[in-house]
């Protein structure tokens, strides 16, 4: 359920792109109208980036598409692996196959919130 990996991923993309362009955190922060410490935290994945900040940062980093900073949907799934190996236990003896399938379905939603 922890989504912190997404922010680490985005932060990493931001820092990589900034280094490609040889820009300092200060310069990018000014262009994106955020403080330098905020940018530092966003790059480390310690601060939740907002959508408008994402667009401003994409602009400051000369990207035509803000989506380039986002992890691919499939890699997000890998970052939050769905728990398929969770043991199902019940005190009632007769948990039928339909129930088991249903329980698995609910559990598979775990990583996706």
């Amino acid at each position: 359920m922890g989504h912190s990996n997404i922010y680490k991923h985005v932060g990493n993309n931001l820092a990589t792109r900034r280094n490609e362009l040889n820009l300092t955190q200060s310069k990018v922060a000014i262009a994106a109208e955020i403080s330098r410490p905020s940018l530092a935290n966003i790059e480390k994945g310690n601060q939740t980036i907002t959508l408008h900040q994402l667009y401003k940062l994409a602009n400051a980093l000369e990207l035509d598409d803000a989506r380039k900073l986002l992890p691919a949907a499939t890699s997000t799934m890998k970052l939050n692996p769905t728990p398929t190996t969770i043991k199902i236990k019940t005190t009632s003896k007769n948990l039928n196959d339909g129930h088991r399938t249903e329980v698995q379905k609910v559990l598979s939603m775990l990583g996706k919130r």
């Binding site: 922890g2 043991k87 009632s92 775990l110």
Partner: protein, 172 residues
């Protein structure tokens, strides 16, 4: 905290302490607040009608699912029962997901052995939803148990099903 508690008396004590600490003696019992204080995440999700709820600890996070297709009052009993599993049976929930079918069915209530944890969770739930002192007070002052409408009135007051009221009155 002991790992797996099956003694009914202990289950009742845990329920009373939690109600006092987080429920502040309120009626109906503020279950949402209690789960928040206990750091349990609750999800209401449609499940087969035979399943009432599930509980699990995953990566240290306590989780509960409640069948959202059941009557709200029944959902409250299910939630209280699953809270009971978290409080009393942490070790079991660490090992995998624990799935509960109709928690208040007579066979669950009366059978022994492997279903001791269900009996304990039911005792916990009924005490959390209807604390002994509150119930005694009400019966002394307002309710005549011989009156036919009293079960319904109690159910309404505590926001539980009449079946849960009857279950509760069994150990008055």
């Amino acid at each position: 905290m002991p790992k797996v508690i099956t003694a009914t008396g202990k289950a009742l004590t845990y329920a009373r302490n939690i109600h006092q600490e987080f429920g502040a003696g309120r009626t109906p019992t503020p279950l949402a607040k209690i789960t928040r204080k206990l750091n349990i995440l609750v999800d209401y999700t449609p499940l087969d009608r035979e399943l009432s709820g599930m509980a699990m600890i995953k990566d240290g996070q306590k989780l509960i699912w409640v069948n959202s297709l059941h009557h709200p009052n029944r959902q409250r009993f299910t939630l209280a029962h699953e809270i009971g599993h978290h409080v009393l049976h942490e070790d079991i929930l660490q090992q995998g997901v624990h799935v509960d079918k109709g928690v208040l069915r007579r066979d669950t209530v009366s059978s022994a052995g492997t279903e001791q944890i269900e009996i304990a969770a039911n005792a916990f739930a009924s005490e959390l939803l209807v604390p002994q002192t509150t119930l005694k007070d009400l019966i002394d002052k307002e309710f005549d148990l011989d009156d036919n409408g009293s079960i319904e009135k109690l159910a309404k007051k505590f926001r539980i099903s009449t079946a849960a009221v009857q279950f509760r009155l069994m150990r008055l």
